[in-house]
């Protein structure tokens, strides 16, 4: 059972959502990270960054608005 790392970047300006994602996954070789974002722009930026770093990306639209981005790397 691996721990899930949670990152909440809702409401932050560019480039902080992508930067915080980079700083988080930069410390990890594998695992699961769940990132909450509030805009499509942040969602795209975070997803693009994680994919380039070799993480699997799954995006879930949240009922209250915004997105949960689930990053996985084995």
């Amino acid at each position: 059972m691996s721990n899930i790392v949670n990152v909440d970047v809702r409401g932050l300006s560019c480039p902080q959502p992508a930067l915080q994602t980079k700083q988080t996954i930069g410390k990890m070789d594998s695992g699961t990270v769940e990132i909450l974002v509030d805009t499509q722009t942040s969602c795209d930026n975070v997803s693009r960054l994680a994919q380039k770093a070799g993480w699997d990306v799954e995006v879930q639209e949240q009922p209250e608005g915004g997105f949960k981005i689930i990053l996985n790397k084995k």
Binding site: G11, P15, D44
Partner: protein
């Protein structure tokens, strides 16, 4: 619809937006806008400030429809693609002053990042120190971002917050169309230049349509001339930089076709040759834009999608342009003005303090 949305957020979005800017800006020059100033977000906000009587530089007073189009075009795109989201609360007063100082810096160089790239594409080599300064300013901003700089989080806001700047832009358009003049002797409340750059403009409907088109594209593609450099340095991501490269290639080609490419340092339109202050002005502008999260165009596009904090930055740019001219800090083709250098130094000091002191407030 979703396939169109995906296309513009793909790598092609910024490239197409940049290429369109690179083609349309020199055409606007051909149709009447000032030289190498088909589009300049800072210069055009300065002209709006002049038209509203916020400064008395008679040669730079005009309500620029391109700015109106940028905000309203972005609003239309955001509404169609369900991205209009009123929000505010991320240190608006700090953003106001970042807007003020970004303009003070950019008017020492005589152009925003958009115009820096457009000047380069027209053969104005004085743009090179300006662009180097911009890179340095963005680099400095990145140092603060890495240290944890944040203007803290915004929150969802009532609809009025999102609509305020777009409606202000519509009112500006009405003032432009009706050329409101109470006495009939050009005594205000709205002022229009009779000579100089402010008197040079393409037909207002053409300018408006170009603004609307670019505003629409840029909202979809997230085009940003400061994010372009920032993301390469900070995130090793060239997504936005491709847009700026496309802009420069398209603008060089269009200027060559239109016979507007004139290489050199001397006698360039609305430009001066002082290397040091072309550089330093853009260090300040680059730092202020980076701390605020995007270039002046991006602030307009964000305003169109309901970002009340970006709207405050835009208002800061307009007021800052007034300060810049009233305090004799804006350069002219003769070179930096008497108080330009000291204003840049004061602005840098204040932005550095902001960079060092602003951190995210604790989550509730």
């Amino acid at each position: 619809m979703s396939s169109i949305a995906r296309f513009f957020t793909s790598r092609w979005g910024p490239i197409i937006t940049g290429a369109m800017v690179g083609i349309l800006a020199p055409i606007l020059v051909k149709l009447g806008n000032p030289g190498n100033m088909g589009i300049c977000v800072v210069c055009f906000n300065r002209d709006i400030a002049g038209a509203l009587g916020l400064h008395r530089a008679g040669v730079v007073q005009y309500i620029r429809p391109e700015i109106i189009g940028f905000v309203v075009g972005s609003l239309v795109a955001a509404l169609i693609f369900r991205e209009f989201k009123p929000r505010t609360g991320s240190a608006p007063v700090v953003r106001f002053f970042l807007g003020v100082f970004s303009v003070i810096g950019a008017l020492v160089f005589l152009g925003c990042p958009w115009r820096a790239y457009l000047r380069l594409s027209g053969g104005d080599w004085n743009a090179i120190p300006g662009i180097l300064g911009l890179l340095a300013g963005i680099g400095l901003g990145i140092v603060f971002l890495k240290m944890g700089f944040s203007l803290s989080r915004n929150r969802t806001a009532p609809k009025a917050v999102g609509w305020a700047l777009p409606i202000f832009m519509v009112i500006l358009f009405l003032l432009l169309v009706f050329r409101v003049d109470f006495s009939g002797n050009s005594t205000g409340p709205i002022f229009f230049s009779k000579s100089g750059p402010g008197s040079m403009h393409a037909h207002l409907l053409i300018s408006l349509c170009v603004g609307l088109f670019i505003g629409f594209l840029a909202q979809r593609s997230r085009f940003c001339t400061v994010g372009a450099v920032r993301d390469v340095i900070l995130l090793r991501d060239a997504h936005l930089l491709n847009g700026v490269i496309a802009l420069i290639i398209a603008a060089v080609a269009t200027n060559l076709v239109l016979g507007q490419f004139k290489a050199g340092f001397q006698n360039q339109p609305v430009a001066h040759t002082n290397f040091v202050w072309n550089f330093m002005g853009m260090v300040l502008a680059g730092l202020a834009f980076t701390l605020a999260g995007g270039c002046p165009g991006r602030q307009l596009f964000l305003s169109g999608e309901g970002d009340g904090d970006a709207a405050v930055f835009v208002l800061g740019m307009i007021v800052g342009a007034g300060f810049s001219h009233n305090f004799n800090a804006a350069s002219s083709p003769n070179g930096p003005a008497a108080f330009g250098p000291i204003m840049v130094i004061v602005g840098l000091a204040i932005c550095i303090i902001i960079g060092l002191t602003m951190r995210e407030t604790a989550k509730k």
